[in-house]
């Protein structure tokens, strides 16, 4: 359907060494998150004041934080929330945005216009503030942050997908399909979607990176995850007071976020090159 | 009096460096441009005619293209390796007119700015003087209000108008050589004739030698004194214009002449097959698959010039042998 055999896709993707490396790294982190209960050496929330601020080694591979909790275990469990929420927000906004974007772009007319005005209002407004307002209204907590982000992000997808669909809708093979008697619905699924999908995959991969950053930003401000649940942004916030004595408290989660986001960006760029080539 | 040779191209070979492979695009092309004369270069897509123009101007980047062979302008070898020297020649001694005028102008600058920046690159003049030179030059192209045109942006002018400005920019330094890469292809038929007429008049006035590239036989017949036919990177046939139209020798030239529906109703005698793509360069004669009188040894043919009688050279095995050539076999 994508017009490119999966094996051809793989053979081209392998050429991008960096992207393959990042892919393994991302998969490793995801696996760490999923199998956290088995992999994590200790219980992430068990407080042992005696053992606070231990260096790495021994029972605590990465040492302990100011409450004696094992950093490595908290990082592994934190993956579930940080990555999980980013995936959740991305997938929800992607599906809603794609559905609305494709139909409004293809149908055109008043609905399309109305939607664009709505997009203008939402998107010409800093998402951070809107999410803050929503959190302020619904109260902090992870679910509210996710809802807040979805409310803002799906419109970003609508605008992007609408422009993609419009560019394809103008192309001659769509009118050729009309002449050949294909119904609107079939045109959307058989002609427009396959040509939009590649760019969509690239966009959502790149978007994942920025969502992780935003999400950790909110929990850093204390709106997202409430202590003691482990989350990368929150861990950086907790570690900020010990910047002099135990800088690694902040270093590990920050570095992990950076590496994950770099990986998503690299994979996104590589996908863009591979999927573009497929057409020429 | 013999015409003085302005530009002499000997054995020009250009190859594209693509993924550690060298794909030869222009192969052993030789021709010379005489003062006040027009050499017409005919060819279809992928035959290397545009690349030939760009290589003469030294516009091919060194890391992606390999250019060999000698190109002499007024007896002096063109310094392609010295970027600064060749840049100074471009636009002053060797000028170019592009195919699609609308996309050749920067949409954010006015037409006048394009003209004056070129003038000020080649002449030490103030902005005002450059403006005057430009207006005088545009008047030569019988443009009604040059000042108004100078102040307008490219998207406000029609293709024909922009092409006239391009010709003015090309000829204001009285260059020795003018290279025109399909100047009228993107214009309407009615405008095409006017542009060609003005180009011919101005060229006569400035005595410039001209290389006119086109895929339209009508334009070549109208303008060219000498004609070269390119196919698969080679100049397969070269002769004075009247000679090549009356008795084309190479099978490709003959096929090309017949495939134009010049107000006839009877079935066209068609060249089967498709022009070879740039990437797939086979051994021997590139016209082998499409040629009706192709023979086994055409594949080994090293494309040397064969029959060269009285300025009419051709590269085809048909004319290498002694025996009488059977014209009808491949007409």
């Amino acid at each position: 359907m994508i017009g490119l055999g999966f094996d051809k896709f793989l053979s081209r993707f392998v050429k991008h060494k960096a992207a393959v490396l990042c892919l393994f790294f991302v998969l490793a982190v995801i696996a760490g998150g999923i199998f956290a209960p088995w992999l994590a050496p200790n219980d992430p929330n068990k407080i042992e004041l005696k053992l606070k601020l231990l260096g790495p080694g021994g029972q605590f591979p990465l040492g302990t934080d100011h409450l004696g909790r094992c950093i490595l275990s908290r990082l592994l469990y934190g993956t579930r929330i940080s990555l999980g929420s980013a995936f959740l927000v991305m997938s929800f906004s992607l599906t809603i945005g794609t559905a609305v974007g494709i139909f409004s772009a293809y149908r055109g007319g008043r609905i399309d216009n109305l939607l664009m005005r709505l997009c203008d209002i939402f998107l010409s407004f800093p998402s951070l503030v809107l999410v803050l307002v929503i959190i302020g209204v619904l109260g902090s907590g992870m679910v509210n942050v996710i809802i807040g982000m979805i409310l803002v992000q799906w419109l970003w997808y609508v605008r992007i997908i609408r422009s993609l669909v419009l560019s394809i809708k103008e192309r001659t093979f769509v009118s050729a399909a009309k002449v050949a008697g294909t119904s609107d619905m079939k045109i959307i699924f058989r002609h427009i979607l396959p040509n939009v999908l590649p760019q969509l995959i690239v966009l959502s991969t790149l978007d994942l990176g920025s969502l992780i950053l935003h999400f950790s930003g909110y929990s850093f401000l204390g709106f997202g995850v409430q202590p003691p649940t482990p989350e990368w942004g929150a861990m950086i916030e907790e570690g900020r007071r010990f910047i002099r004595s135990a800088p690694e408290l902040m270093f590990y989660p920050g570095m992990l976020i950076t590496l994950i986001v770099i990986s998503f960006n690299l994979i996104g760029d590589a996908l863009r090159d591979v999927l573009d080539e497929s057409v020429t | 009096m013999i015409k003085e040779k302005v530009m002499d191209v000997e054995g020009l070979c250009v190859s594209l460096l693509h993924r550690q492979r060298e794909i030869s695009v222009v192969r052993d092309v030789s021709f010379c441009l005489e003062e006040g004369k027009v050499l017409g270069l005919i060819g279809e897509s992928g035959c290397g005619k545009s690349i030939t123009c760009l290589s003469l101007l030294g516009l091919l980047e060194k890391d992606r293209w390999k250019v060999e062979g000698s190109v002499r302008l007024k007896g002096k070898e063109l310094p392609y390796l010295n970027r600064e020297k060749i840049r100074r020649l471009r636009g002053s001694s060797v000028a170019m007119v592009m195919q699609n005028p609308i996309s050749s102008f920067n949409p954010l600058l006015t037409v006048g700015q394009h003209f004056t920046e070129t003038i000020r690159t080649h002449k030490e003049v103030t902005r005002r003087e450059a403006g005057q030179i430009a207006v005088e030059m545009l008047l030569k192209l019988n443009l009604s209000e040059p000042e108004k045109v100078m102040g307008q942006y490219p998207f406000q002018l029609s293709g024909g108008m922009l092409q006239r400005v391009m010709i003015a920019i090309a000829l204001f330094m009285c260059p020795h050589v003018l290279i025109a890469d399909e100047p009228t292809t993107s214009l309407d038929v009615t405008v095409q004739y006017q542009i060609l007429k003005e180009l011919a008049e101005l060229r006569d006035h400035y005595r410039t030698a001209m290389l006119l590239v086109s895929h339209d036989l009508g334009v070549i017949a109208q303008m060219a004194d000498e004609v070269a036919v390119m196919y698969g990177g080679y100049v397969v046939e070269q002769a004075p214009s009247r000679e090549i139209f009356c008795n084309p020798m190479h099978p490709y030239t003959r096929g090309l002449m017949k495939s134009r529906p010049a107000f006839t109703k009877d079935r066209l005698n068609v060249l089967e097959g498709y022009p070879p793509s740039l990437m797939k360069r086979s051994r021997g004669c590139p016209f082998y698959e499409r040629c009706r009188c192709a023979r086994k040894d055409c594949l080994e043919f090293d494309m040397k010039e064969t029959g060269a009688t009285g300025g009419h050279s051709v590269r085809c095995l048909l004319y290498a042998g002694e025996e009488e050539v059977k014209m009808d076999a491949c007409s």
Partner: protein, 315 residues
């Protein structure tokens, strides 16, 4: 040109109203009654009678649209009501802390221009050279690292280890360097990439080939033709980014204890201080709309097609 600006202004008015209406609805969708929020903020006992009194005082019992229009009427006369927490008029609070946030954002814009323009330009001109690889590494890290984490790294390095710059707080211009850099790093990375790909894309265009064919110097070909075209998307994107940076200062102010709007809005959100939130959002909307307008005007100056419009219509 003037007509264009006026029309553009008119078109932005509905956007501002849209945003304020949106916030108003959001606030009033809340399960918690604003009166209770006020009571808790001023920790007076929420007795039946006191709540009714507060509702009457703030006019909360009247239907929602009416409340919005009263708020709007007063807002147009710059009276944004009183903050629950500090009892000060919202406008004063905003007036007090907005300048320092604006200063921070403008300094960040300064960093942006200082970093993104040269880096983007050089990495495009010297493609695949050392400069290009270095700038790409910088853009990847700066674009991917969480801004607040970067902030702490900067503090660790410049303030604590080297002791060159003050750690936090507002004072002389040295205090401004680190926070504005932290705020700008993320955007500097994406603008470097945007400018670089813009220039490289434009270098493939036919008008660059024609410029070279006319014998123009390489400096002119890239510096004038390619750069000017590449700046168009950068200016357009900047209209949006200025607003995002202004909002993004919330985090940076939190790290560097910078007395700006950021801290004000975080506290008012914790305390459910609705008039303050509403005022903040209105201010942000106006600033956002103005920065978009400036970006549009700048792109109209650069691109005549926006200013004059396409005369030659391809049928």
């Amino acid at each position: 040109m003037r007509a264009y600006i006026i029309k553009r202004l008119i078109s932005l008015v509905p956007v501002v109203f849209g945003i304020t209406i949106l916030t108003f609805i959001l606030i009033h969708m809340v399960p918690v009654d604003p009166a209770h929020a006020y009571m808790t903020a001023t920790n007076t006992p929420p007795t039946e009678r006191a709540v009714a009194a507060v509702r009457a005082e703030f006019g909360l019992d009247r239907p929602l649209p009416e409340q919005y229009f009263t708020w709007l009427g007063k807002a147009l006369r710059l009276d944004l009501g009183k903050s629950y927490v500090s009892q000060e008029p919202v406008l004063e609070e905003l007036k007090h802390s907005f300048p320092s946030t604006l200063l921070l954002t403008l300094a960040a814009v300064g960093w942006l221009i200082l970093l993104a323009l040269p880096l983007g330009f050089l990495s495009a001109v010297f493609k695949d050279s050392i400069v290009d690889h270095l700038s790409r590494a910088f853009t990847f890290v700066a674009a991917s690292a969480p801004p607040f984490w970067l902030g702490f790294l900067l503090i660790e390095l410049f303030a604590l280890k080297l002791g060159l710059l003050p750690v936090m707080g507002k004072g002389s211009w040295q205090h401004l360097i680190l926070p504005s850099l932290t705020l700008a790093l993320n955007y500097a990375a994406s603008y470097t990439r945007l400018l670089r790909s813009g220039i490289l894309e434009n270098l493939k265009q036919p008008f660059i080939l024609y410029a070279r064919a006319r014998g123009l110097k390489q400096k002119l070909v890239i510096g004038k033709h390619a750069l000017k075209n590449a700046l168009l998307p950068v200016v357009n994107a900047f209209g949006m980014s200025f607003g995002y940076m202004l909002a993004g200062s919330v985090i940076v102010e939190n790290i560097f204890a910078w007395p700006g709007l950021g801290r004000l809005i975080t506290e008012s959100i914790f305390n459910r201080d609705y008039p303050m939130i509403q005022g903040y959002v209105a201010l942000m909307a106006v600033v956002f709309v103005l920065s978009n307008l400036l970006a549009d005007i700048a792109s109209a100056i650069i691109d005549p097609r926006i200013r004059i419009g396409d005369d030659r219509v391809g049928v």
